[in-house]
């Protein structure tokens, strides 16, 4: 038989067709943020949940804005994000059922050790961003509607700077995830606002170091919500709720607290006690 070459190639390609996911596999799709995925938190906590319940958790990691949009289209069962105002809007539009606090960490201002804008050492984050603007020192912005981007925009507002109008060439809007933005900042020795988790797990630091931390205004709260089954009937309500219940349970909270890199804890659990969403999630003022 002639033409083996093609036949072999085709036969090979055809038999390699991906096996369909078995109908028996139970899973939920969680739209979450790059900070939770890239910091390695999910790899640490998900196996515990999956072993206990047999429900697999499929995480799609995007910026908070994109993650919420994905859930609005009905492509996720659960959202696990960190931008309070956007989450409230999502709830108000009735895309989410209810919101629970899960954990917090904080943002840090990272910049080159040489510190051309002289912001290092202080605690006042608003004064620091003002100095960066005055020195026209390079600053890398996420520019992607992520929770970190939203937090950064809030800092400029607090400093009385209308960044959309006043930004110059020193302000680099990258439109990238936290990791790529840190890579960019490292290579141009720029200042950047990062969540602590991603910073701790980030390897390519170059000349960058934490310059400002510990300001109350750098608080970074993570929340979790089930996507509203009334808007999207295919939402896996039961399994999604099982995941939410577990993450906010004492076992889930302990797993979050146990995740460390180099001895440092990345996320601090603060789900309302007794897993009651009314006890803590809606009374806390936005961070």
């Amino acid at each position: 038989m002639v033409g083996k070459a093609m036949l072999v190639l085709f036969a090979w390609a055809l038999t390699a067709w991906p096996a369909p996911v078995t109908a028996a596999e139970r899973y939920v799709t969680v739209a979450s943020t790059t900070s939770t995925e890239q910091s390695g938190l999910f790899r640490h906590i998900l196996p515990i949940f999956e072993k206990k319940t047999g429900i697999r958790v499929r995480v799609v990691a995007l910026g908070t804005g994109q993650a919420l949009d994905m859930a609005r289209r009905g492509d996720a069962d659960v959202v696990f994000v960190h931008a309070r105002e956007q989450e409230e809007k999502f709830l108000a539009e009735e895309y989410g059922v209810r919101r629970c606090d899960v954990m917090y960490n904080d943002f840090v201002l990272v910049g080159p050790r040489s510190d051309p804008a002289r912001v290092g050492g202080g605690k006042d984050i608003v004064a620091a961003v003002r100095k960066i603007k005055e020195a026209r020192a390079p600053f890398v912005s996420r520019g992607d509607r992520s929770g970190t981007h939203v937090a950064e925009l809030k800092l400029w507002r607090l400093a009385g700077i209308e960044i959309a109008k006043e930004k110059g060439r020193w302000y680099r809007d990258t439109g990238q995830g936290m990791g790529p933005a840190l890579n960019t900042a490292a290579s141009m020795s720029a200042y950047i606002l990062s969540d602590r988790g991603t910073w701790l797990s980030f390897r390519n630091r170059g000349e960058l170091a934490i310059l400002v931390e510990g300001d109350k205004r750098l608080f970074n709260q993570y929340g979790i919500m089930l996507v509203n089954p009334q808007k999207h009937p295919h939402v896996k309500r039961e399994w999604g709720q099982a995941f939410i219940d577990w993450v906010t349970s004492s076992e889930g909270q302990r797993a979050i607290a146990a995740y460390r890199i180099g001895g440092e804890q990345l996320f601090f659990p603060n789900a309302a006690r007794g897993n009651n969403p009314d006890a803590g999630s809606s009374s806390r003022p936005g961070a």
Binding site: G3, A5, A13, P20, F42, V60, D75, G179, N204
Partner: protein, 234 residues
Amino acid sequence: MNDIVLALGEALRLIGGLDAKLTGIVVLSLEISLSAVAIAAVLGLPLGAVIAVERFAGRQALIVLLNALMGLPPVVVGLLVYLMLSRAGPLGPLGLLFTPTAMVVAQSILILPIIAALSRQVIEDAWREYEEQLRSLGARRFDAALTLMWDTRFSLVTVVLAGFGRAAAEVGAVIIVGGNIDGVTRVMTTTIALETSKGDLPLALGLGMILVGLVLALNGIAHSIREAVQRRYG
């Protein structure tokens, strides 16, 4: 330079360790890209042949369009497929978003124009050369197309390999429609993108080296089969 040496070390460590996770990612990458190339070849080669030998209104425009679509940005294909497969999209009820199948669909769309456009060129060149001869034998255009596909089969293998290379190398489409879900839709290129995001550049580059090695090996296999067949049947 140091980073590249480190990357080489990482690549060797990964291969040497024969990590189950890495094996899974490599196998999934191959399954997806080979499936996509098979689909694109089954549709694209006959399409290229028909356009090569047939004469119809709008043919030139179609050729220009196909050639232009070879430059289709993967991200755009990814977005289109995403919007189709999203629950809010027309094919949403199928529930295919964030599955390997969605990734196969996206890659097939991406490489179909490449295979169709290149095979059209190859077959048309052969058609120019043999048209009179084939006509004098009384061959209809359809038979002529089949004969020419057979005659140019070795060039067409290269065309298919070009499609495979594009599929295996792209990240923009699969990361959108697959979601880069660990253990489900994470392939070589999306892993590389993720490790780059984490700033683990040596690991990312190490994975890149493995990917290049795989594509090289597949091309090597295809080349030797072709040589063997050519020697045997002239």
